[in-house]
Structure formats: C-alpha cells, structure tokens
Amino acid sequence: YRGWCLQNARCYSVNHLSVQERIEKKRKAALTGGGQLRIAAQHKRGKLTARERLELLLDPDSFVEYDMFVEHRCSDFGMEADHNKYPGDSVVTGQGRINGRLVYVFSQDFTVFGGSLSGAHAQKVCKVMDQAMMVGAPVIGLNDSGGARIQEGVESLAGYADIFLRNVMASGVVPQISLIMGPCAGGAVYSPALTDFTFMVKDTSYLFITGPDVVKSVTNEDVTQEELGGAKTHTTVSGVAHRAFENDVDALLNLRDFFNFLPLSNKDPAPVTECHDPRDRPVPGLDTIVPFESTKAYDMLDIVHGVLDEREFFEIMPNYAKNIVVGFARMNGRTVGIVGNQPKVASGCLDVNSSVKGARFVRFCDAFNIPIITFVDVPGFLPGTAQEYGGIIRHGAKLLYAFAEATVPKITVITRKAYGGAYDVMSSKHLRGDVNYAWPSAEVAVMGAKGAVQIIFRGKENQAEAEAEYVEKFANPFPAAVRGFVDDIIQPSTTRKRLCRDLEVLASKKQTNPWKKHANIPL
C-alpha cells in the first residue's frame, strides 16, 4: 500500500491538476444548465433561467450554492451517457439573503430535462429544507418543472414524497413560499399546495393535477392549459394561488418585497422595520367613510389603507372570495396581518370561500407571531342551499376555529355591522380578542332590525314601531359596550393611533393553549 503511494506520488500532482480542471469544467457546465440553445428557448418563452431568477431574487453576491456537483443516478434508457449528465441536475439550490435576511432557496431548471424531478433533484431540495428548519429560516421554491423524471420511475415518486414530508414538517416552523414560474403538474402540485403561499406568473405558469389531454379523454371537456390551471383560474376561481404577477421580473421583485413582512421562523417575532409614517397620525377620512344608511356599501380597503403605514398593503388573494380582505401590512414598522369584511362585495357576508380564505390567513399569522387586526362589518353568514350543501357549517367553523385558537395579539375594530354568529366569529372578545373597539356606527346585534322584529312580534301590528324600538335598542355600540364586549367606542379618525399604541403593549403578550398532540380543525 505504501509502495503504491510512492509510486503514484508523481501522478498525484498531474491528477491534482486534472481534478482542478475538472472542477472548473463541471462548475462551468453547471452554470450553463441545459446549454445555450435551451437557455435561448427558455428566454423565448418569456421566462428567465433558474440562475437568473435566483440572481434577481437574492441580494447581489449573497447566493451560496449547494450540490453543484450532484448528478442524477439513472442508468436506464441511455440516461447514463455522459451527454445526459448535467452537474447539479435539474435544480439549483442553496441559501442567500433578501434585504440582508437569510433565506433558503431552490430553483428548478427547465433547461435540464424540462426541470423534471429526479431522485437527485429531490435530494438537493430536501437538503436545503432540512437545513432551513434547523437554522430557522424560510424556504422559497421557484417551480418550473415538467413533472416526474419518467426514466427514473418510482425513484422520482419517492423524491416527491420526501419533499412533501419536509413541507409538512416545516409547516408552522419556517415560512414556505412557492412561486410557480412555469409548468407544475401532476403530483408535483402538492408541494406548492402544502406551502404557506403560492404565487404565480401570468401567462407563463400553470398548475394542474392532470393536463387538458387527460381531461379530454376522461371527462370529454375541451379546456386549454390556461383555462384549466393558469394564473387567472387559480387566483380567481379555485383559490389555489394567492397572487399572480405580470412576469418573472415583476414576480421576483414583488417576492423580495413580500419576504420583508415575514419572520424567519416561528421562534422569531414579527419583523419591525424603520417607519416614517407618524404612529399617531389622525385619519380624518375615516370619520365619514361609513355611510349613514346601513344598507349602503363602502370599500373596506379605504379604511385599511388609511390606517396602515404609508397605505402599503400586500393583499393576499385579492381576486378570490372578495367579500373578505386579508393581507400583510405594517403598523409603526411592525408586520401585522389584516382581516376585514368587504361590504362592497356580497355585503361582506361570510360564505364558504371567504371563511376558508380568512381561516388559512389567520392560522399563518398565528403560527408566525404576526399580530392580527380585524375590521368587522359583517351581516352574517350567506344563506341558501348552495352554501348549506357546500358545507358552510364546517367551512365557517374553520374561521371560528382559527380566530379562537390564535394566541398572537388580536385587535378588532367593529366599523358597522356585527350580526349574529358572524359577530362571534370575527375575532370577538369572547374568542380572546385582546382589544376590541367599536366605531360610533357599530351595530352589534343578533340580526338586522327587520328580521328580529318579525320574529319577536310575529303576527302583531305596529311592526314599524317595534322596528324603530329595536333599532334604538340594538343598532348601536352600547349593548356590547355596557357588557364589556367592546373595550371602547372610538372616534374613527383616531384608529391608527389606538392600534399602534395597543400593538406596542401587546408585543409582549404571552398566551398558551392546553397541551395537545395537535388540534383537530374541522377540515
């Protein structure tokens, strides 16, 4: 053995050189992915390459790449040939910084086997996810993949499952964001579906379980890719995606902006950034925003924008279940989650879709220490067979559940109607609301005056008189205020000042729920 070593001493230095060269060669190959032709084709589709995307997403020179030398291990169908091996395979992984804060990333490379998922690909993704959980930093996935690496068969399926498991393990530990920037079909869709937020790029991305061809052969429906799983479908109809952006550049720049709202992990408080908007700024427009007629609509976003730092609101699912408004913003620099009923759409009632949309958002905020501010103007749950058959009972229960279990600071402002069960649901005092305010226009009641009078005075005359009496008694903030169900009745223009002050006090709030293996939310 010793002799072998000596014999090879001279060869070693030669070998060493060739290793250096090979490292360089492999690195260079890794950097060009599937080669210039495929890069050009990717550009022609209006898409950036996996590496260009990371360059834009992360701070300059901050990307630290892992597993650049990993290659796929398939030896069937000629895959073992050298020209079929790409250093790094079909995904680029590593960590970097967004506005100086740590993030783990993976970016699927469509130029290598259409970004298809091999065992090696999955292994690379799992590696960054594992480390992200240990360190406590978010994971961002940039999806652009044709699906499973068919040549690898079950190996590829195993890879998906490995990722799914990690998505589930990381859920509630570190924020996970998926940005769909190309195809994402079949089983692959479940990784984005398990993450906290799914964003899409308009016109160049789609998500579906089975493509138009299979749909045609099974259900005989004619549908295009865009109609079946494009950004518009998922942000307006299915509610699968949380927002869509114009193109790759727009999406990545917006993602950088979005990232600043999130804490790194469930161990970190909601981030606080430098704020130039005075915390005690009066908002005079709020004193007149609620119309005198309680049947007249107004835009809840006008209230939300008026109260927030610099009117900046990152709305989640702006085009889905528009009768509820949810999204991130800052108050005196601190990230908050906003939930508000939208009187402009379906009178702001709660229905199946808005309950689910609200519930998922509230649970994210609670998992990641983001205080929740709720603006209430809700006439109740939407009646009708469509809703009852659709399971409004179990879906509505999700929102109720989410607000009730949340232990983050919860502040509620009742701007107008808070009727019936929906009043209870919308972060009421009874569900451990920390500070609950009513505006002078608030009406906390079991139902609207007309309906109430019809029941109480069924068949009696003088309904109009009775209605007036009911209005006098209940259509105002006093019944709730005298019972302490709202802590104060506030002048609307002072809302921002009040909220900022309360958030500061509640920053040190500690509240725990009883020990359990996990709760059983009515899914």
């Binding site: 100086g100 193109n247 790194l264 950034t273 005079p284 002078p440 105002n476």
Partner: protein, 710 residues
Amino acid sequence: MAAYRNTPGFQRVLHAVKHVCFSKQRCGVIICRYSTVYDPNEKTFDKILIANRGEIACRVIKTCKKMGIKTVAVHSDVDSSAVHVKVADEAVCVGPAPTSKSYLNMDAIMNAIKQTGAQAVHPGYGFLSENKEFAKRLAAEGVTFIGPDTHAIQAMGDKIESKLIAKAAKVNTIPGFDGVVKDAEEAVKIAGEIGYPVMIKASAGGGGKGMRIAWNDEETREGFRFSSQEALSSFGDDRLLIEKFIDNPRHIEIQVLADKHGDALWLNERECSIQRRNQKVVEEAPSTFLDPDTRRAMGEQAVSLANAVKYSSAGTVEFLVDSKKNFYFLEMNTRLQVEHPITECITGLDLVQQMIRIAKGYKLQHKQSDIPINGWAVESRVYAEDPYKSFGLPSIGRLSQYQEPLDLPNVRVDSGIQEGSDISIYYDPMISKLVTYGKTREEALKKMEDALDNYVIRGVTHNIPLLREIIVHPRFVSGDISTKFLPEVYPDGFKGHMLTAGERRELLATAAALYVAAQLRSQKFLGDLRVSVVPAESRQWELCVELDKGVHMLGVSRSGNNYTVEIDGEKVEVSGEWNLASALLPITINGKHRTLQCLLRTAAGEISLQYLGTSFKLRVLSNLAASLSKHMPEKVPEDTSSILRSPMPGSVVAVSVKPGDNVAEGQEICVIEAMKMQNSMTAAKTAKVKSVHCKAGDTVGEGDLLVELE
C-alpha cells in the same frame, strides 16, 4: 338608518365634536385677504339658511360666523356628512341625491326654513340662486332672499329681455336676434342674416351650459339640437337665442354692489378669459388688458345697468372685449359669482357680508372712490376632471388623501370637501378654488406655482396638470389671452408638461434618489434579531430608469440625505429633508428648490412623480433587473379602435346605433351626460356595429364598455 342618528341630541353631539376638529384645522392660518368689518351695533339676521352645498355654502357660513349669525345648512342624503353640514349650526336633509329632488326642491327647502326659523336665505350660486319662483315664495313667507329683487332676477335671467334692457340703458350690446328661435331651420335662416360665426345659447342659461358655436348651416342644426336638449335638462327651459359670435374675445366682467337705496358701486373687473367649453378655469383680478379709462367706462355701464333694473345686492356684469378694447354686454349674473374671491382680495371687501347687509336694508358703506385695486389675485379652479380629455372630463372618487397648501402665505383655498369626501356624479366636480395673492401679478403667479405644487389630492383625477401649465405659459404670463387660449395653445388637446432636457434630468435624478432611499430602508430591521442581517449596503448604485420609452443609465452615490446622480455624463445633486411616508417631496435639485409629489412607488420599481404639475410614470430598476427584463414577453394591449368605452362616469342619454349598423369614422354612436354636460361619443373607425352594451337611461362608470365594432 340607525335610530340614534335620528335623535337630534346625539346628532348635535357628534357634530359638535366634528366641528371642533374642523375649526382647528382652519384657524390659526391667515387665509382671507378680505376683512369682515363687523359692527356689533348694526343689527342683523339671527339665523340664515344657506340653500346650497360645497365650497360656497362653507364660504357663506364663514362670514355668518364672523357676523355672529346662526347658520342652517341644507343637504341631500348623500351629503349628510359633508363639510358644509358640519360647519353649520344646524342642518336639515332636503331629499335624495339628485339635485332636482334636494337642492332644487323648493318645498323641502321652504319646510327647512319654517322648521329652523331662519330669517333669511343665502342661495350661493347655481341651484336656486337665480330662480325667481324661489325668491317669490320666500317673499310670500316673509323670509329675506339675500340677493336682488325678483324683478331684477327675472329681467336679467332672460337673455333676450336683459339685452333689451341693456340696450335701453346705453350699454354696448352684441348684434343678434332678439327673440326666441323656433326650430333648427329658423336658426339657420337667422344665422345667415347675422353672418357666421354665430352663438346659439339657452335663453335661461348660464355657466356655458346649453351653449354652442356654429360656423355653418350644418353646425347650426346640430348645435340647435344639442343646446335645446342641454337647456332642457339643465334649466327645464329649452328656449334658445342666436347672436353674432365675437371671435377671439376676452371675457371680462365687472363686479357690482348695489343697495336698496339706489346706490351702486363697481368693484373693478375680473379677467375670466381662460375657459374650456365656455366654463372658466383660471381667473384674475385686475385684468392686464384694461386701461383705467376702459375700466371706468365698463364700470359705469355696469352700474347704469344695475340702476336700470333697480338692482340690489352683489351682481356681475359680463362683457366680451375684442382686441380693440370694444366691449359688449354679454349677460348679468344676479348672484355671487364663483370667482368672487379675487375681487375680495384686491378690494378688501367681504362680498358675502355686504350682501347680507344690503339684504337687511342697510346703505352701502363705501363710495366709488373708496374702492381700491390692491395688488393682484389669481384663482385656479381645481376640478375633479381629467384634463387630458377635452381639457377636462369629470372624474369621480373618494379623496383618499387631501391636503390644501394653507401653510403658504397669501394663499386662500375655498373648498367644501376634506380628506375622505366623495366626489359623486350628482354634483359639480369642483374640488376647490385656489386663490393666490401678491403685490404684483408676477408675485401672485409665482405663489400659484408653489400652491399647486404643494396641493395634495389623491383618489380622484384632477386638473392641476393643466392649471400649472396655464399659469407658466409665456402667452398667459405676458397677458396675451383670449377665450380661445386653450384650443389655440393646445390644438391637439392638452398633453401635460413637455420636459426640457434639464427638467428630464431633474425628474430622473429624483426618482433614482427615491428608489435608493427605499432600497436602503428595506434593509433596516429593528429589534433583537436571532439571525444577523447582512445588509448589502453599497455607496454606489447602477440603475436603469425608464421614462416615456426613453431608457437612461444612472449612477447614484449617496451620503446622508444627499444623492449625487450621474446621467449621461452630467451630475445632478438631489438633497432635502423628506421621507418615504410623506406625500410632498420638498427637495433641492442642483441648488434649486422644487416640490415634487410621489404618487406611487411599487416593489417592481414603478415610481410616479408629480413634477411641475404633471404626473410622470417612471420605472427604476437595477441594471441586472433591467437587462433581464428584455426577455419578458410584451403584453398585447387591447385594440381600442373597435371598442367604445365611456370616458367618464355618467348616464346614457341616447344610443344612435344598433348591432349590424354600418358607421362611418367620426359618426355619433351615443351621447353620455355627466354633471349636466352632454358628450357625443363617435366611432373611431368605419365599421359595422358588433354589439351595443348600453341603452338610454343607463348609468355607466368610467371605462365601461358601451359599443363594440367589428
């Protein structure tokens, strides 16, 4: 409606609270150039009802308060929380939103007077201000109308009669037909006799409504049709008259003040030549055009007309003045004019106070020789309109942010709205009257530039871009103006401020500085951090800035609040005390002070800046993002030539086509009415009508699809 709101006690409490906020906001800043010399021994009314809304109601209430008079506001239901309601001592709802059911609803207003015990009514302008029926009903109830007698309103309100009276009073008048025109054909005949061009206008009209100019027979027929429709909808009276149209005239008017004892004064002139569609945009007092002799001659004729109709109260005699300083009587407005503040600025009189005194029966306090011209005053009418469409088509919306430039000296803002107010389709889209004052015209105009730059209006489209351009235009600055000013200066329509190379650099540099400031701030996290932040701070940025299809490579370096921006080899220094939350950006660019406004800043690098009045859209990207952007697909814009969309919110008056019709380019497709202005919508190309998405009577929003062509 909630019951507590109907309880007068609670309502009053709410109002009282709101009222305090309001006066705090207004007081403490000297904004009025007029003085209300109030003699506490001169007995006046105890309570006045103001039969109007918006800024003029607020204006009247302001003087009433100074005179110790209680005020009653009337309002429609949508105006329940309007400013004029809050500042009044009492308020009465007189009906639903449409003016015919509220502010023109005499029965309801008479009831409001009875209910509140008001002794007098100030009608403001518009609405019932020149309605003789209203004045009669008030007189019958023993309530004082703060304005002229019924007789004078009637005489001057009718354009035909007023012309005859003016002639008799030896006032110069325009040649024309002194009678009502029966139909379009008679209009053509008369027009032929007088000679083109002719002006067709509503007999009962005012304010440019129901007024059309015709240069040939065909335009006369069309003008006759439009004017009679508009006259009917605006005044309920479709009688029209025709007169010689004085080409390229100035519009100069004389303010008069007359008491019930036969004394009358003229308070100098107002130059109101800057108009669009016969509605005033910028006014000033005095006029650069009048010499003292012409002024006196006009003033004396105005007074003689006032005397001829036994006029009392404040009134305005409008003249057209041609290039040779010949002046012709146009009409007399028997009310307080919109633009009265500029007269108050140069004379120091409070016209509302004088009207109230006169109505109470007092003699004039001043003699003609007491009336000065002190300094110069300019008024810009700030409207919620899109100035890029026919110099202003109405827009609606909620004032999400609103800040008047009241901390500047010598600035007066007469407004009836505040942050959060709605500009609705029901009423005039005026936001405010912005008045600046100076010892000289130059000073007043400079002040107007500052005031417009510092005026924050968000949530509705406004005409500040146009106003800002007018007041710095060389022709305007030199006083070379006429009523044709806008179409002559902007023959292809208003396009916003045209940047010079230097201004372009200033704008680019400001956007770049703003971008860098925002980037740096986004890396500043406060509090204890478990994982350290590694900021990518650098002192040098390479940026790519897009501005109307031009792309510029910029280098930016920063030290503290000072940014040095290098553009095409030229250095621009940007500094100033501003922050990312403020609407105004008071900055110094290469030593010059400028106030810009940041209208929009997005994560994707879009920045909109209001600069020299006009809003400019820029996109600031890092060099990397810019170079990658070239791969992004072009989004195909909608082909707009085959789609007709409503340019503004309003109602559909008539649709002249049906699916399958062939239309020629320029042919009328439908007529949209908004704020009582009728607008003919025409085909952008010759084509067949594919589908019609509206019908007469529909309410449409801005951008709503009306008709599709094939």
